[in-house]
C-alpha cells in the first residue's frame, strides 16, 4: 500500500461525527452478529444495549501500517482468551464515547492519547451477547511504550492492516453455542485467531474502505 493511501480509503469509511444518540442507545446496531445469523435480528429489539467502544489503532510504521490487537486475560469472566481491540464499556462518568475509548486504551495497554490521532467512527456493531459496540478508527504514531494491565490483557500484538483488509483472509466459520448453530468471521494470522465481534468489525472496515 502506498504511503498514506490507506488514510484516504479509511476516510471514506468512517464518520468524523459521533453518531446521534438514537443510533447509539435506541436503535438496532448498524451491523452485527445478526448479519451472518438472521435469527439474531430481533434478539435485543426492545432493549437499550450498554454501549462499548473499541479502538482500531492503525500504527503508521514506515514499512506498512499494522493494527493493534489484544488477547483478553484468562482472568476475565467474559470472552476470556479472545482476541479483541483495546476498549470497553462506556461509563456514566465518561464525558463521551471517545473519552471512554481513550481511557480504556490507556488502562489496558498504556497507550496514551498523545500518540493517537482519531480518524473517525465506524458503523455500530450489535453483538449477540448484548452490547452496542462503537468502533473508533485511529492512527497511532510509532514509538509508544506499552504498559500492559495483566488483569485485563494477556498479550498485545500487531497484525498488518493489508492482511486484515484482504477478503481472501476472511473465512466464515460455524459453531454451536447454547444449542444453536452460529456463523462468524474468522481470520487467522500465525498463532493468533481473530474471530467473532473483532473479526466482524474488521470485515466491516474492509467492506467500507477497501472495497476495490
Amino acid at each position: 500500500m502506498a504511503e498514506f493511501e490507506y488514510r484516504q480509503k479509511i476516510a471514506k469509511a468512517v464518520s468524523p461525527e459521533l453518531p446521534p444518540e438514537q443510533v447509539l442507545y435506541e436503535g438496532r446496531g448498524q451491523s452485527g452478529d445478526f448479519q451472518l445469523n438472521p435469527v439474531l435480528r430481533d434478539l435485543h429489539k426492545n432493549r437499550d444495549l450498554p454501549l462499548a467502544t473499541v479502538l482500531i489503532g492503525v500504527v503508521e510504521y514506515e514499512e506498512a501500517p499494522r493494527v493493534i490487537l489484544t488477547r483478553r486475560s484468562e482472568k476475565l469472566k467474559k470472552h476470556s482468551g479472545q482476541v479483541a481491540f483495546p476498549g470497553g464499556k462506556v461509563d456514566e462518568t465518561d464525558p463521551s464515547p471517545l473519552d471512554a475509548v481513550l481511557r480504556e486504551t490507556e488502562e489496558e495497554i498504556g497507550l496514551t492519547a498523545g500518540y493517537i490521532d482519531i480518524a473517525g467512527y465506524l458503523e455500530t456493531f450489535e453483538t449477540g451477547s448484548g452490547f452496542m459496540v462503537l468502533p473508533v478508527v485511529a492512527y497511532v504514531r510509532p514509538g509508544f511504550e506499552l504498559k500492559i494491565n495483566a488483569e485485563e490483557v494477556a498479550d498485545v500484538f500487531e497484525v498488518p492492516l493489508n492482511f486484515l483488509m484482504n477478503r481472501e483472509n476472511h473465512h466464515i466459520k460455524q459453531d454451536v453455542w447454547n444449542g444453536q448453530l452460529r456463523s462468524y468471521y474468522s481470520m487467522s494470522h500465525g498463532q493468533h485467531h481473530i474471530w467473532g465481534v473483532t473479526a466482524g468489525i474488521l470485515r466491516n472496515l474492509s467492506e467500507r474502505a477497501f472495497d476495490d
Binding site: 451472518l36 438472521p38 479472545q82 473465512h171 466464515i172 460455524q174 456463523s183 474471530w195
Partner: protein
Amino acid sequence: MTENSLQNVIKGAEKASNSAGAESLPPVDDWNPPYCGDIGMRITRDGTWFYGDSAIGREKLVRLFSTILRRDEDECYYLVTPVEKILVTVEDAPFIATQMDVTGDGETQKITFITNVGDVCAAGQDLPIYFEFEGEQPSPYVHVRGRLRAKIARPVFYRLVDLAVTHQQDGVDYLGVWSDGVFFSLSRVDKLGPDYG
C-alpha cells in the same frame, strides 16, 4: 519435563475418567487449570493424534485424551485436567466421523454418525450438520459436544449426498438432508441471501 507433563495429564485424565463413570464424560468445562504450554500434541487432518513426531497408536489412550479435550475462546484446543492444561494443535477438526447409520426416511429419517474416537452423534437440533468453505471447497462437519466437532469423512459425505432431497424454505429450493425432523441444507451457507452480502 515434557515427558512428565504428558504422564501427569494421562494420570489426571484416568482419574477424571474413573470418577466420571463409564457412561459420562469428565466435566472439562468446570475446570480452570493454568496453562502448561505446548509439548507437541497434534491432531492431523485425518484425525491421527501425534506426540512430537510419533503417532499415538493406542486407541484407548486416544479415546481417553478425546474425553478431556476442550476448545476455548482463543479458538485453541487444550487437553485439560483439574490441574493441567496443554495445547493441542488441531489441523482441521479434532474428530472424524468415519461411520454413518441411517434409519427411517423422509422427514423422520435419523442420521447417526460414529467418530474415530467412538463418539456417537445423532444429527438433529442439538447436533447440527454444517459446512465451512475454503474457497469453493466445502468441508462438512457434525457437532459433537461443547465446542468440539467432527469432520465428516469423504466416503461418509458421499453417502450423505446420496440422501439429499429438495426442500423449500422461504420460497427457495434447497438441496439437503433430513435428520430427526431438522433439514440441513447442503448449499453453501454464505451465498444464500442479501444478509450474507
